[in-house]
Symmetry: C2
Subunit: 206 residues, 2 copies
């Protein structure tokens, strides 16, 4: 398959959300123009994004909502559920552990880890915070696809190394450092200050 | 100025972080190759990103760390502070209100709003949660640049309309809907499930 850019993947995620909304409204077909309008993009962009993955829709008839929904879920890897562990039981970690949008998409936060003895053993959203020193042995018994890393910067690389050695293949990283991982491990970094900087840039360059 | 893509702006934010790290380590100059290595990009990309904003650095000598730091802060609109209001005193809102990275960059969360009578009046990180019904009159007295919207989807557009009418020019939107705003208002949407979907895509398409 051709290398797909992250911006294409993000648009596919949005198209999936729009299709679910069209479905909820009782629509059975949708045109590239309608998808484009919702996503503030162009019909040509929608058709190009989808063309990476084969042929969809019929000229003049548009896309079948259930068919394209199913295909996008498949492309995005959403036809299965994922076991997710969260490392770092702080404020952001707590908010993420209870984020309803994850479970709806099949991402199940199954364990939370921390190194703070005052947090270990406490209950969080039905889960008991575990000691991060046990993470490698736990993951041997509980194979895990995705980890969410919400530790301070200083601790992040060491935890990431353990996660990778334990077979985790994807990390959502909130720690403000660039993680070094093998090429077959996907890392997506989220930095809230950086999001605000795209806005301060917009304000400064109007 | 040419239209700058969001991915360019994000790289500029990262370069600024790397420059601050180089500065903390006592470096006074840095090459495009060193910036590229930290950012997992190429020297050519670094030079291209910076070239949008004029001429920096000297061939063979690299960039002056303090000079490029100052210039990037200026480009990113970080030479001033921003008054920020947060709407939605839930879990994510609480985590964001206390996020240390915001204040470090000059983003000051100065007020928090909610519509829940049980939350209004309670103290959050030194701020008293205010009644969202007063937001328009408050913002008249307290001009505000940026709002962070963490309401449920149903409430988001109505609040956004009030924010825009009150002069807010930039919104960081965590509500899972696409906001309709005038062209001169910048909106950046953050969707945590979408971030995880870039990872499930990577896992499904290896």
């Amino acid at each position: 398959m051709r290398k797909i850019s992250e911006s294409t993947v993000r648009r596919l995620s949005l198209y999936l959300r729009f299709l679910e909304q069209f479905d909820a409204q009782g629509h059975t077909t949708v045109s590239s123009a309608e998808l484009a309008r919702r996503g503030a993009t162009t019909s040509a962009q929608v058709r190009k994004d989808l063309s990476f993955f084969g042929s969809f829709g019929k000229r003049g008839l548009g896309y079948s909502v259930p068919e394209l929904t199913g295909r996008l879920r498949e492309i995005l890897g959403l036809k299965r559920t994922y076991r997710v562990v969260l490392v770092g039981a702080g404020r952001i970690g707590g908010a993420l552990a209870q984020y309803p949008g994850f479970r709806q998409r099949g991402f199940h936060v199954a364990a939370i880890y921390d190194k703070d003895p005052r947090k270990i053993g406490s209950r969080w959203n039905g889960l008991v915070v575990r000691d991060v020193r046990h993470i490698a042995s736990d993951l041997k018994k509980e194979p895990t696809d995705i980890a969410i890393l919400v530790t301070p910067a200083e601790a992040a690389q060491e935890v990431a190394d353990q996660l990778v050695q334990s077979g985790v293949k994807a990390i959502l990283n909130f720690a403000p450092i660039r993680l070094a991982v093998p090429a077959d491990v996907a890392v997506k970094s989220v930095n809230m200050a950086l999001e605000l900087e795209t806005l301060s840039f917009a304000l400064a360059n109007r």
